[in-house]
Point group: C2
Chain length 337, copies 2
DNA sequence: CTGAAAGCGCTTACAG
DNA sequence: CTGAAAGCGCTTACAG
């Protein structure tokens, strides 16, 4: 356990009278060494406090046992919760996670970000961001597996693990109908993000089935305009319901409406997505669509591990296997009239 | 931008007719090269899509430009919010963050965790965990700077960046007195974590100044017992106020009490710590102590950077410079009677 | 079953 | 101002 200078394989070799090669083989549990040699090596490692240098190991072997995680907003519990689950699961298999943020600029990973990622030579990339479209060939040529999580991968021909967004949107639409809403608003995120449009699609269709049409002014992409614009729209058109792309948007909507004296849950219904209140174990006040995020995250981790460890399982994305999204009702629904 | 096989310095050297040495010098902006050489190198790098291998670079130079972040619970917005700020700030200076979780087992970093950390040869460690006491010499002998964030470092003779916990606890105590509480409970985290005891100290002293004594059964360390035990205690002693170590504990307390028909904000007051509602931009319902977490996080990042970049500034910990903790009132305070 | 040599892709002295 | 050589700490062929 004593340790002054850096202890390397060479030191273990010297101590045991073996070659660095043999020591390395023992530590990596490669075949061919005697029990006696194994014990000598382990004793010397313990005694000298040897710790492998993963940088050197990675350089030579080509595998850094590192997974890069790309995100835009770690504060959103959807990201921190899933990141926590995924990185722990990866850790159990000897992979560490290295974090890269695009600093909340957009839903995309750009060239600068990918440069930084690739310079770390990760064994895989798990991305909450979509790749900028012109980067796809670049990423593919790097040969590093790229798994998109929580976004649709199909526009890029990549593996994407995501929930049944359309059905989630439909559940929200039906719920607002049940609340008696006739003039709802969809507060989306970005107009060019597929999952945003999928939720919009499900929402729109469910409303239409109930005889409520959604006109263009009833759709606002909240991440693309000042938040004020969204609230103004809701107020000016006297909306009686809002379906938000996620709970983070819904939280602000509720806070802002209440600040204006509008009684959420009475004058207007608000529905979010992700059910982050459960992740935080907080009293539930916001009605939200729950897609079963824990299983979702586990599915993402398993997909990554299958690829990293060379299991070429024909894998169904989460969307086909998870239970249907459900509405978790809070206090922001309008009592049925 | 085309890239089939891995592009190395050798390829750039071949392309430009220079030595790898010179290419490396240009890319690292070391002195001594002509404008013309610089342009030739940059052109070739762009053309071939060269990306440095930080593993190789780190191995040779001794600096991996990596900071390890140690945490126990990324889902708590206190951690995700500060991690986000800190890792972005580090990124601006060319450092990436690599995450290590102790899987929520305890507030400590143990030997296994530190082995994993040190194997990555980070330039620094920023830890939300305290080091297990017997690991301190081991960590020190590694020579890697270790900054403790959000916990007191003094018990370990290490730099700790933390808030004025005692005053924070006192603010909570005074607030509960103002709510008319006479039988309050402190829902701490762990009995051996200094910041938990500091908040308890400030809380106890403020109550005493108001003529309310806190007996041992009015103190529960919520992370050490089943949550049920805490709630039972609150109910059985008919407590009229609860000060929780952090908002995550407070959220559960509020949810559980409400589930039992106890009206929080009327029958009982609940105060949390960290004001995570603001981080999430959510409507404020929980009364909480706010220590100014944004500045706090920036202070942690700056401290790390000062050390990494060799600025031996005599630095005052955050505790001496930040504004006093304030109570942010929500709906869980009991109206003054 | 064990060892001597080569090499991963860089950066660091050291020559010129 | 530029280059040839050595070496960071490992693992991978290849011999024996």
């Amino acid at each position: 356990m004593e340790q002054r200078k850096k202890v390397t394989l060479k030191d273990i070799a010297a101590r045991t009278g073996l070659s660095v090669n043999t020591v390395s083989r023992v530590l990596n549990k490669k075949p061919y060494y005697t029990k006696e040699v194994e014990e000598r090596v382990n004793a010397a490692c313990k005694e000298l406090g040897y710790i492998v240098d993963m940088n050197a190991s990675g350089l030579r072997s080509g595998s850094t046992r590192t997974v890069a995680i790309l995100y835009d907003d770690l504060v959103n519990p959807f990201y921190s919760y899933t990141t926590d689950i995924i990185s722990k699961r990866l850790e159990e298999h000897g992979y560490n996670s290295i974090m890269f943020s695009n600093n909340n600029r957009s839903p995309y990973a750009d060239y600068e970000l990918m440069r930084a990622v690739l310079s770390r030579k990760p064994d895989g990339v798990l991305s909450f961001l979509e790749p900028a479209a012109d980067l796809v060939p670049f990423i593919r040529s790097s040969g590093i597996p790229f798994v998109i999580f929580g976004r649709d991968g199909s526009p890029y021909g990549m593996l994407g693990i995501n929930a049944d967004e359309v059905r989630g949107g439909a559940a929200a639409g039906r719920h607002l109908l049940e609340c008696g809403c006739r003039r709802p608003v969809y507060a989306g995120s970005w107009h060019d993000v597929k999952v945003c449009l999928d939720r919009q699609k499900g929402f729109t269709e469910a409303l239409a089935a109930g005889g409520v049409e959604l006109s263009p002014e009833q759709i606002v992409y909240a991440r693309e305009v000042p938040f004020e614009t969204l609230i103004e729209r809701i107020v000016s058109m006297q909306a009686d319901g809002v379906f938000c792309f996620n709970d983070m948007i819904a939280f602000v909507v509720v806070a802002e409406l209440e600040a204006r004296g509008i009684r959420v849950g009475q004058d207007i219904a608000v529905v979010g997505f992700d059910n982050v209140q459960q992740m935080l174990n907080m009293p539930r006040f916001l009605t939200s669509v729950d897609v079963g995020v824990t299983d979702f995250a586990v599915c993402g981790a398993e997909a990554m591990l299958d690829i990293l460890e060379g299991r070429e399982t024909e894998r169904a994305p989460f969307i086909e296997t998870h239970p249907a999204p459900v509405i978790v009702q809070g206090k922001t629904s309008v009592p049925r009239t």
